[in-house]
Structures are given as C-alpha cells and as structure tokens.
Amino acid sequence: MQGFTDAGHNERAPYATKLTKITLATKVTKLTKNKHEDPSRPSWPNSSCASWLPERAADEQGVALIIALMAMLLLTALGMALTMTTMTETRITGNYRDGSEALYAADAAVELVMQDLLTVSDWNSVLTGTTQSAFIDGPPAGVRDTPAGRIDLTEATNMVRCGKVTICGDADMDALTEERPWGRNNPRWQLYAYGPMGDMLPTGTINSQMYVVVWVADDPSDNDDKPLVDGDTPVAPATENPGRGVLVLMAHAYGPGGVKRVVEVTVARTDTTEIERGYTGQRGQDEQNRRARKAPVQTPGQALTRSEMTLTNGGLVTVTK
C-alpha cells in the first residue's frame, strides 16, 4: 500500500512527464505561462512541489479538456441529430393535421354559406356586397390577428380578384389571364362570410384555430358582361344566358404555420323536387321552400291518416283517408 503514497508519486512522476511532454509540450508551456501571469492565483507554499505539480496538473487538465470536448461534441451531435429527427417528424405530423383540419374547415364554411344563400331572395345583392352572411366578425376589410396568424381581408380579397395585394381596378379584374380567362365576366369576388372557425357555432363547441373566409361571385359562364349582376340579358350574338341563377363560392381556410386550403364550388338555384333525397346537383331556395311543405309520406302497408280535433269532446281522432 505504500506505493500509493505521495512519495511513490514523487518517484513515478518522471515517467508520466515523459509520456505527456511528447504530445503536449506546447500546451503545457502556455498553461504554465498563463498561470504565472495571473496575479490572482495563489502561489504554492512548497517550492519543491511547485517545481513539478503545476506542470503535471496542467498536463492532465489538458487531456481531460480535450477528452471532455470530444465527448461533448459527440454527444451534442447525437443529441442534435435526435432532436432534429424528432422535431421534423413532429412538424410533418403537425402540418399534416393542420392541413386536413383546414380542408374540413373550408368545406364547412362552404356548407354554411350554401345554407345562408338559400335565404337570400336577390343574389345580386350578394354580388354587390350589400348582403352578407350572418357569420362575420366585423367590417369586410382590415386586419385580423388570429391564432392562424395575421390575416388582412383587404389584401386577401385583392389577391383573389386580380392577383395582387393592392387595390384592383376594372382593368386588372377584367384582364385575360390563364386563371381568369373570361375578361369582363371574370368573377369579382365579394366577401360574404368570414371569421374564426370556432365562432361558427354559438355553442363554442368547435375547438379550432382555423380562420375561414368565403367569397361569392357571378359564375364565368354568365354572358351578360356584368360581373355584379346575375343572369342579365346576354350580349349578342348570344340569346340565352346559361349563367342565370348560378354563383361560384370560394372558401379559404387559414391555419397556424401558413397552412391554407381552398375549396371552390359552383351552386345554382333549382326548381326541382318534392322528394327529400337523392336529387342531383345544385341546391337553391326552392328546395328549402319545398322541404317546408313536403308531401305526406305513407307508411308502407298502411293507409294515410291524419289527426283532427273533434268539437264534441275536444280530443283528437284519427281519420283514415
């Protein structure tokens, strides 16, 4: 056990010094020099110890430093790689979730507006912006600060009208482009419904950060050259206006992280049916009216019946037809 005394260290020191000096000579010199220049460091009380201890201590500190740095570098690289992988996967999943949610939000907004339009007797008032949906969160312009980010309704409307954020003139909106190739019949989108998705139901049961905007415009097959009038007299040589009673809706849903989904729908008034289900295509005000006064339905295998109040005793009697 005596080999582990200070005296033992004293005797074995030269071997260690020789081994380390080969590779760390420069570093040792610097460390030693720096230490002597630092007046704040305590001086060694024993001069014989001071002659070798600082040098050994410096050697070992250097090795430890390098090993520690390398280990830290390795661990940091591993940690960063792991973090990056995890963050990327999380972000992908989050974006995917937000994208899906935005698509459903846009779809829901379209459904809401279709129901709203059923109650509007004059669609021209929608095209001019006079009539708006009940689902709005303020004037049809300006900035909204939402969980989905900052949304400028004015700029968004200009973008869909003419592809730029500044005010669109008639020439801008009538310009022939690949996306808007109908000239004077190009859709002039009017803000109709807009607000946070969570406000769509008054019960507050929708937990969503989406912000939805729906624009309405006259459909481009309308050949009256009046984008703010639905189905006016067609421009010659056309004699019929196929766009009468037809509107186009465009819903944007905005979400966190720049997520956006768009749904575009063409709707038309129809004068169709007394049946409740299964008819194809467009919905219109007439459908709602007919739903309200739908024909009686006979229970299979039974006769049609109705209940009437009798004046004799005030009760209800069933009358078979």
């Binding site: 005596q2 080999g3 033992g8 005797e11 992988t85 996967e89 992908i92 995917y96 779809d107 022939l176 190739p181 109908w182 000239g183 019949n185 459909d219 481009p220 097959s221 309308d222 050949n223 067609p234 056309a238 206006n241 196929p242 766009g243 575009e264 063409t266 038309a268 004068d271 169709t272 049916t273 007394e274 049946i275 289900r277 299964g278 008819y279 194809t280 295509g281 467009q282």
Partner: protein, 411 residues
Amino acid sequence: MTAHSRTVRRRDSSEAGFTMIEMLIAVAIMMTVTGAVFALMNPSQGIFQTQPEVSDMQQRLRVGVDSMAKDLVMAGAGTYAGSAAGALYNFFAPVMPYRVGDVDDDPAKNVFYRADAITILYVPPTPSQTTIRDAMPKTAEQLKVNEQSNCPRTKTGEIDQHDALCGMKEGMRALIFDNQGNWDAITITSVQDEALHLGYDGELSVSYAAGSNITQVATHTYYLKTDVATKTFQLMHYDGYHTDLPVVDNVVSLQFQYFGDPLPPTLLPNKPLSGSGPWTTYGPKPPDLATTFAPWPKGENCAFMVDPVSGAQVSRLPVLGGGVGSVPLTEAMLKDGPWCPNASAPDRFDADLLRIRRVRVKLRVQVAQVALRGPAGVLFTYGGTSTGGARLVPDQEIRFDITPRNMNLGR
C-alpha cells in the same frame, strides 16, 4: 539508511507487477462491466435502427393515403357549365373497381372487378367544358368544338372572342360523353387551327352525335403491383393513357370496398326528358317512350325500364338492404349487370356502380429492410431474417373511408 532501503525494496516488490489472481479478477470485472455496457447498448442500437424505419413506414402510409384521398374525394365531379352541368354519375360510372385505359384495359379482358384496383374520373376546375360541333365517327382523329360562353376568351388586337378550342391544349386529357351512358377518355395530341387532334388506342367505343359533351378530365387508376420474385410491392398510379408510375414502395396489401345507395334511381318530377338536366336521381336518363336506345326496348335503358302495368318508366335496379343507410356493394353485385350502356358495348359498366357513395380503402405497408422483418404471419405479410425483439418492425395498416362529395349531392 537501513530503514530507507527496506522501504525501497518493499516498494520495488509492489511495483514488480500484478499477480495472476489480480489480473484475472481485473479482467473479470472489466468483462462484466463491458458486457453490461454492451447489453445496454445493443437494444439501444436496435431501437436506433428501427425507429427511422417506423417513421419511414408512416410517411409512406401518409403519401399513399394523401394520393388516393385527394382523387377519391373529387370522384364524380362533373361539368359545371353548359347543358350537361351535374355530377358524372348522371351519365356513367365515375368510380370503377378495375383498371381502365388505353394500355392493359381490364374490360377488354372481360375483367370487371379487382379488389386491389380502382379507377376514378372527375372534371377538375377548368374552363374547357363544351360540346362537339360535328358528329364523330368511331375512328375520328380530330374534332371541333362549340364556343360556349364559359370557354376562355382570347384577344387578338381589338377582337375579343371565345377561344375556338375552348382552352383545350396539347397533352390535355379529355372526356367525351353523351346522355346514353357512352363515354371515352382521350388525349389531345396536337392542336391545329380550330381542330383538336386526338390520341387513343384502337377506336372510340361509339360514334358520338354533334352536341355530345367534351371536357377536360382527370383519370386516375390506383392498383397494387406485386412481384414476389423481384420483391416488388408497389402502390401504382396509371394515368389512363400511357404512363404507369409507382407511388409508394413496399405496399403489401391494397383493398377497396364499396358502399352504395340502397334505393334505385328514379326520374325527377317536373323534369321533362327533353329539357335540361339533371333528369334522374342518378344514372343516365332513359329516352322518351317513343324513342329507342338500341338494344333496349323503346323508352328503356340500362337503368330504367317501362312498367308493363302502368306504362311509366321505373328503375331497372332493385332496392337493397331494406332501402335505408348505405349498403355494402359486393363483387357479385358489381359485375352481374345490368350493363350500361348495353351488354355488348366496349366501355360497358355494371349499372350498380352508379350506386357507389362511399369507398373504403385498406393500405398495408411493410418495412423495407429484410433484417427488420420476422417470420411471415399475422405481423408480417412477407417474412424476413430478424431474430431479435428489438429489431422487429411489424407491417402497418391503415383503413379509411372516403365519401366523394360530388356523389353525395342529394344526401
């Protein structure tokens, strides 16, 4: 001095080396510690190896679901301008459980059902929706179209007019269809003056009358490609013309199931057959009672027949499942007829395909590395060489339902 020498000798003897027992103990301790470290590291390494593969599988599932869902949700979207406005299922079946196209066409081989294939048609947002100007024979190589008001406008100098080609361009996929259940998907190979030159294999299924509809269309076929010999398991996409492309690798199972309207099609009230559509709840409209769509009797087609008692046009299809809810459409139902537009037409389809309202998709993927797959069984469709629990990545399967919104407009 003597004491000092004794000390030195003692020290010398202690520094002379370790005994064999000390060495063995030291080695044993070292081996135990090293073994413990490796025992800890080994599963970690396995997890490090498997987790990226698990992420990769989920990514592949996501790509597969996204690709099919975006097309399925649009299935059946029809023209929205002009006389034929309405969903495609008013004219023909926009969802077919087999491969349809110029290359390797299933109906040409008399195959009308494959559990692992689906073809979807829909009209994308496009101004190119119009009618053909002249009658088209079955071997027509070019056609001209009418300038409907929804067609794009062009401006040459001061002259502002509708595009004579209605925006049709080279390379565009186009759909020609009529009111009798006939349809053909073609590719526009070139454009010359006012004429569109067409590309398709063989010939058109029928001769189309002037006024038949033509529109830009999207055709998508998804199917499973399985080749055990070359270890190829891919979700494939076919564009209906000449191009097959893989979408996702290592897809070991793909299945489609169909659910439909239990009620047969009916004629809409107050909608004369000579007027503008839609005329039916779904399915192609029948001719008026004095007209014949050969080979059907007067007033009949694949979806409607004339009731011998009342003389009215009623559905040819039965009520399914008590007439409520959405009923599963089995393979037998989807390939037993009646056939539209008729049983001998090259583009025929089972009239029950018009009922489809919901599609269920099952997609299963496996890990790419054989070393991470265990023996074939419940967890692994195709076996691998993995032996360790930390290096097992079972197949992952996803099942989702899509209700195409344009095939559920009245529901």
